[in-house]
């Protein structure tokens, strides 16, 4: 690999790959800290509410910074380049360009918002409220001061778009409130991190039972690879990040009929790491959701299957049955189980793609839902002139489960626990 420039990527490198942009091939590698980034990569159009957070991140970057705006599946009503670097805006949209800073002065002005940190760039609010010694003792018997921390929507340990309001007792998370803050996306793609699944749901609504299968399985593998990239970063395990990135890049670059052949070796290499003792010891027993609890919560997708619930929209679908589909299952319901299920789903999706390319298309009845990377998605167009009914059952429940699972966990475990549920930063239907 040649020399690459450190770049802050919004939302993240894996999602840009999903959207068709291999930023590593363009000479950029992802960093997490704005002060060590020379480039900011952001969608050309962003939701207005994201702008303060992006501006805060932009301001923290060193002089000589460049802004790269790319077309993205995500949409918004604000022109990123015009709003972040107005003096260099050329009136064009949706083009890559370079930007140089305008030399902001930050020298210690007491009213200057230098506190970029724990909000991860969220709007410049001061969230370390006056510390009050409460009357409640913590687990070790000490009466501690509560700390309020807000993370997100960008430049935080969590998924881009996810805002977390946490109360800490020392480094123990007491309460957590999670909110996906990105809500403006295409009318028929509520979550742009899984566009193929939503497009497939629309096809299914139109009566198409099978043609979307390769796209959905390809997206499932890519989405899970993206998750493992961010897991490696979260756990401080560059080797996992690099292997997941290799897989994601192979998925991005391979032609449709050869993707399984090219991607399977990379997927198996990554699976070796996922199943290694290093990850198992880190995630085992963390944020356990037992089967009964998962059923009560109404979890779906890989989160449910990791708890042993056999729920998958692909089960009973004639074409999937003919392809030999079997859902990946685990039974412990902990963070490792959720990672393990997703890793096996990557392999399963690639196997399905390999078998798909060699067979005739069966006519099958359209299923009730499409199983996306995070769970089932459905679109039901109603009447002409009315908005379609979009649903992704289980996502709100996963959000609740993630928020509840961090109670009394230490900070790094809490971050790993939330991450294991694969919560999207977009507020899908």
């Amino acid at each position: 690999m040649g020399v690459t420039r450190p770049a802050l990527m919004v939302p993240d490198e894996g999602t840009w790959l999903l959207w068709g942009h291999d930023l590593r091939a363009s000479g950029l590698h992802q960093v997490r800290s704005p002060s060590s980034a020379t480039t900011l990569v952001a969608p050309s159009r962003i939701p207005e509410r994201l702008l303060p957070a992006l501006r805060e991140v932009w301001d923290q970057m060193p002089l000589g910074r460049e802004l790269v705006c790319l077309d993205a599946k995500a949409s918004g009503d604000a022109d990123t380049r015009r709003l972040l670097a107005p003096e260099h805006h050329e009136g064009h949209e949706h083009h890559e360009g370079h930007e140089h800073s305008d030399g902001h002065e930050h020298h210690g002005a007491p009213d200057h918002h230098g506190d970029h940190g724990d909000h991860g760039g969220h709007g410049g609010h001061d969230h370390h409220a006056m510390m009050a010694v409460t009357g409640e003792a913590s687990a070790d018997g000490l009466v501690m001061e509560d700390l309020d921390v807000t993370l997100g929507p960008v430049n935080s340990p969590l998924a881009a778009g996810l805002v977390a309001h946490l109360t800490l007792d020392g480094d123990i998370v007491c309460t957590a409130h999670l909110n996906p803050s990105f809500a403006e996306a295409d009318a028929l793609v509520p979550d742009p991190t899984t566009p193929a699944a939503w497009a497939a749901a629309l096809d299914v609504a139109g009566g198409d039972a099978t043609s979307w299968i390769p796209d959905v399985e390809h997206e499932r593998a890519a989405s899970h690879a993206r998750l493992f990239m961010s897991l490696g970063t979260l756990l401080g395990w560059p080797q996992l990040t690099e292997r997941a990135l290799d897989l994601a890049r192979v998925l991005h670059a391979s032609p449709g009929d050869r993707v399984a052949e090219h991607a399977l070796p990379a997927a198996e290499r990554m699976l070796k790491l996922v199943q290694s003792r290093r990850l198992r010891s880190r995630l085992r027993g963390l944020a356990t959701i037992e089967r009964g609890q998962a059923e009560e919560l109404g979890l779906t997708g890989p989160n449910a299957r990791a708890s042993g619930i056999v729920v998958d929209a692909r089960i009973g679908h004639g074409t999937y049955d003919a392809l030999g589909f079997q859902p990946a299952l685990a039974d412990r319901g902990d963070a490792f189980a959720r990672a393990d299920v997703r890793a096996h789903e990557i392999i399963a999706s690639l196997d399905l793609l390999a078998r798909w390319s060699g067979r005739a298309r069966d006519a099958a009845a359209a299923p009730a839902a499409v199983e996306g990377p995070r769970g089932p998605v459905t679109i039901r167009p109603v009447e002409l002139g009315h908005a379609a009914e979009m649903a992704s059952p289980g996502q709100a429940e996963a959000l609740r489960a993630a928020a509840d699972s961090v109670h009394r966990l230490e900070w790094p475990d809490a971050m790993a626990a939330v991450h294991s549920f694969d919560i999207s930063g977009w507020r899908a239907a």
Partner: protein, 302 residues
């Protein structure tokens, strides 16, 4: 020690930091680019200082220079060749540990001075880490000093002319390396400033000159601990054919490269696990290492 020693130590610090930065690039799979590193370092000095919203100004501004002073002082105790031994005093091993001890208040000052929760959290994590690992670090130094009957690093090198301590005291090596990596803020022991989960932790607010000083200090620390590892365990500058200083430089670069590579293949362990290793395993094992050092000294070095 001559009048040129301080200047020589600074040259070694800067050169060593550059080599460590190149090794970091190589460990990440990128092509080492020294010009790029130097350009970025120069650009950092042009970057305006960014001060947090509610800092403790004295602590915030003093932490990076203190960290750098601690790192350079630790580096100054490393002997590079028979003719260049740095701060060559009879208690050099203790001075090395003492200099590294100042990393803890520097990191704590950085976190507390930043005044933000995650920075303070990172600072406390490092404090807990160092309280646990400072003891085995110092104990191992005394274990290795026993055969040399001296705490002078050059004497410890001299006694290894035939057999390196890595062979005669492997337990001490196994205890020293993780402790050294922890004090040098190297992954997987970078719990104080983990980028992924802490967003930079104690150092998250540092930009411009401060950020450059922190980055420089971190790399000088790597050179210092790698150099001392070679001094204590790998016969220092001893080796055939090549000049002593070159042997020392190659061995130090090799140890540094291994430390950096370990950070890429090992995930960051949870803090409570790291602390448990220290208090329940490392400290008792360090006592065993001292006892073993005594036996080795009696059997082989008398």
């Amino acid at each position: 020690m001559s009048n040129w020693t301080p200047l020589a130590v600074i040259v070694v610090a800067l050169g060593g930091a550059l080599i460590v930065a190149l090794l970091e690039q190589a460990a990440a799979g990128a092509r080492p680019a020294p010009a790029l590193i130097l350009r970025r370092a120069a650009a950092a000095f042009d970057q305006p200082l960014s001060v947090p919203h509610r800092p403790d100004r004295w602590l915030f501004h003093l932490a990076p220079p203190l960290l750098l002073v601690a790192a350079v002082t630790a580096l100054a105790t490393v002997p590079w060749a028979p003719g260049f031994r740095g701060i060559d005093i009879s208690t050099g091993g203790i001075l090395f540990s003492a200099a590294l001890a100042y990393v803890t208040p520097a990191v704590f000052m950085a976190g507390w001075g930043s005044g933000s929760p995650l920075a303070v959290l990172g600072a406390f994590r490092f404090l807990a880490l160092m309280l646990a690992y400072a003891m085995p670090l110092a104990m191992v130094v005394t274990a290795v000093a026993a055969p040399a009957e001296s705490l002078r690093p050059a004497d410890i090198v001299a006694v290894q002319h035939a057999v390196p301590m890595a062979i005669s005291q492997p337990l001490a090596l196994v205890l020293f390396v993780p402790a050294a990596m922890a004090v040098a803020l190297l992954p997987p022991f970078d719990l104080a400033h983990a980028d992924g989960e802490m967003g930079g932790g104690a150092f998250r607010q540092y930009t411009g000159v401060h950020g450059a000083l922190v980055a420089l200090a971190q790399r000088v620390l790597v050179v210092a601990v790698a150099g001392m590892t070679v001094t204590l365990f790998f016969s220092g500058w001893h080796g055939p054919l090549l000049p002593p200083a070159l042997w020392m430089a190659l061995k130090t670069a090799g140890v540094a490269a291994l430390m950096l590579a370990a950070g890429r293949v090992l995930p960051r362990p949870p803090l409570e696990q790291v602390l448990a290793w220290a208090w329940k395993l490392a400290i008792p094992a360090a006592l065993l290492a001292i006892a073993w050092a005594g036996l080795v000294t009696l059997w082989f070095y008398r």
